[in-house]
Symmetry: C2
Subunit: 216 residues, 2 copies
């Protein structure tokens, strides 16, 4: 990774763009190797700068880690909440849109590393874990719960245990996204979402709907 062929190779360059480049590099390395096994020199190299530059933007490895977690996901939550408002009168389409949207914006992207990282490091960063739980997990669950409750009220879905069912619904998506960043080499077949996702929606919506008949 050399500097792009801009006019200046040193000195003031791209102060505004640096933090994002660094967090992107850090995310992919943290997701691949884990937090402790990732060297900051490697993060900096992947972002095209030196280690010292990294410390101009982040106070410590832990601060970089927190930035990776919070910056990547929070914008997505807001879009999810907008989707909710747009489709609240068609709960089954809404539910599918939320779940598919999560897959498209997080699960199938580099951001899939964020849930993997939080699971691996929650015990090492309890304060960050609590923040993530409240600002991401709880808000995400509230969206799915809302869709589920609307669907039950309208008689589309069976009257299931809503909070527990929300977790069951999300689990296959989350695990697939993690799986792809871990076992893709061994298990290329299972990591093809074009086969997995239809089977997922089919099984879940069949289990949820009052009427057994449903199209994909």
């Amino acid at each position: 990774m050399k500097q792009d062929p801009g006019p200046a190779t040193r000195g003031r360059r791209r102060k505004a763009a640096r933090p994002g480049e660094l967090t992107a590099a850090a995310l992919s390395l943290f997701a691949e190797k884990g937090y402790a096994a990732t060297r900051l020199e490697e993060v900096a190299a992947r972002a095209g700068v030196s280690k010292g530059t990294l410390y101009l933007y982040f106070d410590s490895k832990e601060a970089l880690f927190k930035a990776v977690i919070t910056e990547g996901i929070l914008p997505v939550m807001e879009q999810g909440e907008a989707t909710f408002e747009a489709l609240r009168d068609e709960p089954d389409r809404l539910l599918k849109a939320i779940l598919a949207g999560w897959w498209e914006m997080i699960g199938s992207t580099e951001l899939a590393g964020v849930p993997k990282l939080m699971i691996a490091e929650a015990r090492n960063f309890p304060e960050l874990a609590r923040f993530y739980y409240e600002e991401v997990i709880s808000r995400g669950r509230a969206l799915v719960e809302g869709a589920l409750r609307l669907g039950i009220e309208q008689g589309l879905f069976r009257p299931v245990d809503v909070p527990a069912t929300v977790q069951v619904l999300m689990a296959p998506l989350i695990l697939l996204s993690i799986w792809r960043t871990s076992f893709a080499v061994c298990d290329a077949d299972a990591c093809r979402p074009e086969k997995y996702l239809p089977a997922y929606f089919d099984l879940m919506l069949s289990g949820l709907r009052v009427q057994p008949q449903a199209g994909a």
Copy 2:
């Protein structure tokens, strides 16, 4: 001071029992802090010995890690395969027995740390990941696939995409087991399996059965 020279020794001198004590200590620390962040001195201390003793039984940190992974899970696989043979003429009970058995023997125990560890470290130990994939994941999937196929043949289950559905079926169990070792502090409520598991079986079996109505 004379001590009983019987086979059940006390205090020092427990060559036979040490490896298991060390792998148990290592599993709980690896699962809590991650592989790289776990210090061997702490593993040894938790097992009640010194660091030097650890090296009498394992050649390196990596060798200890491999022992943790392989020793814990392989015995469980064999029991699962025995269950399969015992119930092959009642596919719906068989499926539930396999999934519930996984939960009881792995998901709800300390061994839940093993899948968490393999997911976190697969990219750092590709050779071990391949072994795990072939000896644990593939064999486990084969069991669930077998139960699913038997049920479809007998007309109990809908004709779903079997390999993809197997993954969807396993995912909520695996993710819950991992969740409990990561977010239990933040999310005590979601980690209560007595609420989660019934909702899981209800949703999955409702989605799978040909007839929509069924008791848990």
